[in-house]
Amino acid sequence: MYAFDFEKPSTVADAVAALKAEEAQPLGGGQTLIPTLKQRLAMPSKLVSLTGIDEMKGVCVADDGAVCIGGATPHAVVAREAAKSYPALASLAANIGDPAVRNRGTIGGSLANNDPSACYPAAALGSGATIVTNAREIAADDYFQGMFATALDEGEIITEVRFPVPEKAAYMKFEQPASRFALTAVFVAKYADGVRVAVTGASEEGVFRWTEAEEALSSNFSPDAVAGLSVPADGMIGDLHGTPAYRAHLVGVMTKRAVAAAG
């Protein structure tokens, strides 16, 4: 680790101000950033911790029924507090990493990092969530811009994520055997106006919507509806744990299972 300054503000405004410094970077739960620093792969001048900002923590239900999660809320809190209001999201959070990761890692950190194998991006895209920052509101469809790339500007902080609650939803994760991130995972959500299917872990472009399956499921929400569909292997990730063809195959399997689990 290289030396850096450290600030732990208690308001979003103070955090935004602190992040104006050259090469300053927000610190969520540190579950991604700290290992990166330890390996000397990043050299921020200053870390601005977001975990002391009360207005960025917690789970609540808005007047329109959306589940709102503060950007600095750890996975374990989501798993607990969204269990009634959005069970599919809560169970996704409950299966991220191990207890230490869940007690420190945050939803804002996960979405800001946008790891192509992470879980939350599938929930956000699959739910058509709104990513709220200190400066604006970004629709999930506009937010994810490829592996590790997002619509966030320098110094912009995710303060909240708003999830419209679907009629039915489920997340099915096929774990990469070593990291237990998603080798391929699918989030399916059925809303009054249609079904959304978001796939993570599979594509070289990061999380994506499988529109063909969405259309089929919107007219018939059953595993059979997607039985004949497949995504092309082209553009899928190939690595030690899965070829592109294997990942493309898993997209179909996990989608079917997610639909079945959503009931």
Binding site: F174, P177, A178, S179, D239, L240, H241, G242, Y246
Partner: protein, 786 residues
């Protein structure tokens, strides 16, 4: 009633209290006054020429004490190899130099190039970034077979090619070939026993210290065998005489073989401490462990089994390529040869066996013994080819094995070893019972009803433990004796310290060894402690590996305790004015036959140290005895394992549903510790079979260089095991009748898992005859696609 103390009791592991409460003293817990820290600059290319190293900017950085490069080690010995294999033409293996810091060339990613010694790790790392290393990258030899082709890049420029040795062994090749020509059936299988990373929980650490006052060096290190390190490093690398070199291996957090070997970092810290006259400490990061701990396995094999018309095995022939990596690690050459070829008979009376092994240098991390060392490789190929043969012949795989079992002992195999005792029918009977083989079909139907494919895999194994008779291994090329030693020091009040050459790095010696002495003397285990891991405290023993501790060092301890008893009886006889021949010992009391006279253990020990009333004209005061024990043969634990898996046909994911192990370890000292050893071994075997893969890309970069990609088995990847060791044919040649149990689980389990996976796939009509380890979801799925 199970025993509650002594031999056969499941005494709780006393060392666990300190391990589990954070009171262990590991090497990294040792900090020496004035200590400095070293950071190694390692190669990030697999093969390259060092054109220059510029340290001047780095040397000027704050806190830097000194920067060492290969130039500082010119004229100093390289890391020695402890075993010389002779090839099929009678020529010695190729033995290239293995410098402490790279000289001229780097030969694998992780090869140490330079070492920055500074006041803190952070300062050392900062300065390391300022060291300019000019490396010209060269094409790398990675794949073993390609490395043997004429145009392959040479790992060592001074050798003709990348072949370390071409070794042949066993029956006459022409006779074996003839048997194959006459066979009714030949089953052929090509397979890979993939490379593994040992991954002990504690990464390696070394602290070198030097006393100018006494001219004495001390090395604290994460080692399984401190005396071996003292011998190798003192005599061959640094030229420090034994009496000026102390090696301490305190609590060690797992080794699995990877901490047997003498490593560059140990030699460096000891050397540098003398140079700068301050202690030097190195603690490996996990990333360094992946790139610098010797790795395991990595064999590519073609095995052929000949059967007659009645399915009797008539001959076996194997051709194996064994990866040595870039340099010869301490015992690397012995693993694919004497620890592998000699086990090719397995549990079967195959009359003719020929083994060929080509050991190959590649631009990868050195490979050496890893839990089982050669024996898992032998067992895997043999038990896989037998399974394949059973399918090809349409016979039951258990029946085919039973038909070919060795049933008479002693049995001399065609591959040089003689099994003293065993009962393979009994372990197979026991396995069928505890695994409920009869109930398998019902369980398969139940799995199928849930849309899963279920498979049953069974195999046997035999291993050679209790390494080893020194005169024999000397003939085979070992450059060390493999006896062990123990000193039993009885204190005046009757408590005992046993100084042992074996080293415990998780095995539970501190509990099991006292059980033996307690049994022999009839005193409480709590009166006995063992001392291990410090060359200045213990007799010159050879350490722990090859499931040898209780069989070899335990035997030395028995012999020393027998000497104690003999002397104590003399003292007791004197105290009770009786004849020595009439003295017995029971429950801590010395008695005189035919009388009710007795004298307590403590009174005798006190007399030995306060010899007021003592036969001083006959015996010396004191009660301390040492014994060295050199075994007359290996021991041959054996058993039968069964695994049941479920395969998810949609994803290819394999889950292990049941696992049963019936082992014959001879006599058992502590059944609970034996269970634990078997559990751990099976866990590692399941890890190898389904998950672990140390994979290099074609440029020699380790792809699975962290736990993000190297899949270690976790608790929910393994089932509850059914383990039995009630079949006991005691070893005939050591005083305890013990055989050793440390590696069996890792040796016996991989073929059971793969046999089960193949069985599951075949049950659904997939024509899959083999699947290479790890049988990861994608591989199993791909196999099902045809």
């Amino acid at each position: 009633m199970p025993k509650d103390h002594g031999i056969g009791a499941s005494s709780k592991r006393r060392e666990d209290v300190r391990f589990l409460t954070g009171a262990g003293q590991y090497t990294d817990d040792i900090n020496v006054q004035g200590q400095t820290y070293v950071h190694f600059i390692r190669s990030d290319v697999a093969h390259g020429r060092i054109n220059g190293i510029n340290t001047s900017a780095a040397e000027a950085m704050p806190g830097v004490i000194r920067i060492f490069t290969g130039a500082d080690f010119e004229g100093i010995g390289g890391l020695p190899c402890g075993w010389q294999v002779t090839d099929r033409h009678g020529e010695p293996m190729k033995e290239p130099a293995h410098p402490v810091l790279a000289q001229g060339k780097v030969r694998h990613v992780g090869d140490p190039i330079a070492a920055v010694v500074a006041e803190s790790y952070a300062k050392a790392r900062d300065a390391a970034e300022a060291v300019e290393v000019d490396i010209e990258e060269l094409p790398a030899a990675i794949d073993m077979k390609a490395a043997l082709e004429g145009n392959a890049p040479k790992v060592h420029d001074d050798l003709a090619d990348n072949l370390c040795y071409d070794w042949a062994f066993g029956s006459d090749a022409a006779e074996v070939d003839a048997a194959f020509s006459n066979a009714a059936h030949v089953t052929t299988l090509e397979l890979v026993n993939q490379r593994l990373v040992a991954n002990p929980m504690e990464p390696r650490v070394a602290v070198g210290d030097f006393s100018r006052a006494t001219d004495e060096s001390t090395l604290y290190t994460t080692s399984q065998n401190p005396h071996v390190i003292r011998l190798l490093m003192g005599a061959f690398v640094l030229g420090i005489p034994e009496h000026k070199l102390r090696v301490v291996a305190p609590d060690v957090g797992g080794g699995f073989g990877s901490k047997i070997f003498h490593y560059a970092e140990e030699a460096f810290c000891t050397f540098a401490a003398r140079q700068i006259n301050r202690p030097v400490k190195w603690t490996a990061s996990r990333s360094e462990a992946f790139l610098s701990d010797a790795q395991g396995r990595d064999h590519v094999t073609k095995i052929e089994l000949a059967l007659d018309a009645d399915n009797n095995f008539t001959a076996l022939r194997t051709e194996t390529y064994a990866n040595m990596g870039a340099y010869l690690s301490t015992f690397a050459p012995s693993v694919p040869t004497w620890l592998h070829g000699t086990l090719m008979a397995g549990n079967y009376k195959t009359p003719l066996i020929h083994v060929n092994v080509k050991a190959v240098f590649t631009n990868t991390v050195p490979v050496d013994a890893y839990r089982g060392a050669g024996r898992p490789e032998a067992t895997y190929q043999l038990e896989r080819v037998i399974d394949k043969a059973a399918r090809e012949r349409g016979v039951d795989p258990i029946a085919l094995r039973r038909q070919n079992f060795v049933t008479e002992f002693p049995y001399a195999t065609p591959v040089a070893v003689e099994y003293d005792t065993g009962d393979y029918v009994a372990t197979m009977d026991k396995l069928e019972e505890i695994a409920d083989i009869a109930g398998f079909e019902a369980r398969r139907k139940e799995s199928e009803a849930r849309g899963k494919l279920r498979g049953l895999g069974v195999n046997c194994y035999i291993e050679a433990c209790g390494i080893a008779p020194s005169n024999l291994v000397g003939q085979l090329g070992a450059r060390a004796g493999l006896y062990d030693a123990a000193t039993v020091r009885v204190n005046a009040t009757g408590t005992i310290s046993v100084m042992v050459g074996a080293h415990s790095h998780g095995q539970g010696h501190e509990t099991a060894f006292p059980q033996v002495v307690a049994e022999m003397l009839g005193i409480d285990e709590s009166m006995i402690d063992i001392v291990h891991g410090d060359s200045s405290k213990i007799p010159f023993g050879m350490g722990t590996y090859g499931s040898r501790s209780i069989a070899v060092c335990g035997s030395a301890m028995v012999r020393a305790t027998e000497k104690i008893i003999a002397k104590a009886k003399k003292i007791a006889a004197h105290l009770m004015e009786a004849s020595e021949a009439d003295i017995g010992i029971k429950d801590g009391q010395f008695t005189v036959a035919g009388t009710d006279k007795s004298v307590a253990w403590g009174d005798v020990t006190l007399a030995a140290y306060v010899p007021h009333n003592y036969p001083l004209e006959e015996i010396e005061p004191g009660l301390e005895e040492t014994a060295f024990y050199d075994p007359s043969n290996f021991t041959y634990p054996a058993g039968a394992y069964a695994c049941e898996v479920e395969v998810d046909p949609d994803t290819g994911k394999v889950t292990v549903e049941r696992f049963a192990a019936a082992d014959d370890f001879g006599n058992i000292i502590n059944p609970m510790i034996v269970d634990g050893q078997v559990h751990g071994g099976i866990g590692q075997g399941i890890g190898q079979a389904l998950m672990e893969n140390c994979a290099y890309d074609e440029n020699g970069q380790l792809i699975s260089a962290s736990y993000m990609d190297y899949a270690m088995p976790r608790a929910d990847d393994v089932p509850f095991y059914t383990v039995d060791h009630s079949c006991q044919t005691p070893c005939t040649h050591n005083p305890l009748g013990v055989k050793g149990c440390g590696e069996a689980g890792a040796i016996g389990s991989p073929p059971a898992v793969i046999n089960a996976v193949v069985d599951a796939l075949q049950s659904a009509g997939h024509n899959v005859t083999h699947i290479d380890m790890p049988a990861s979801p994608q591989r199993v799925w791909a196999a099902m696609q045809g």
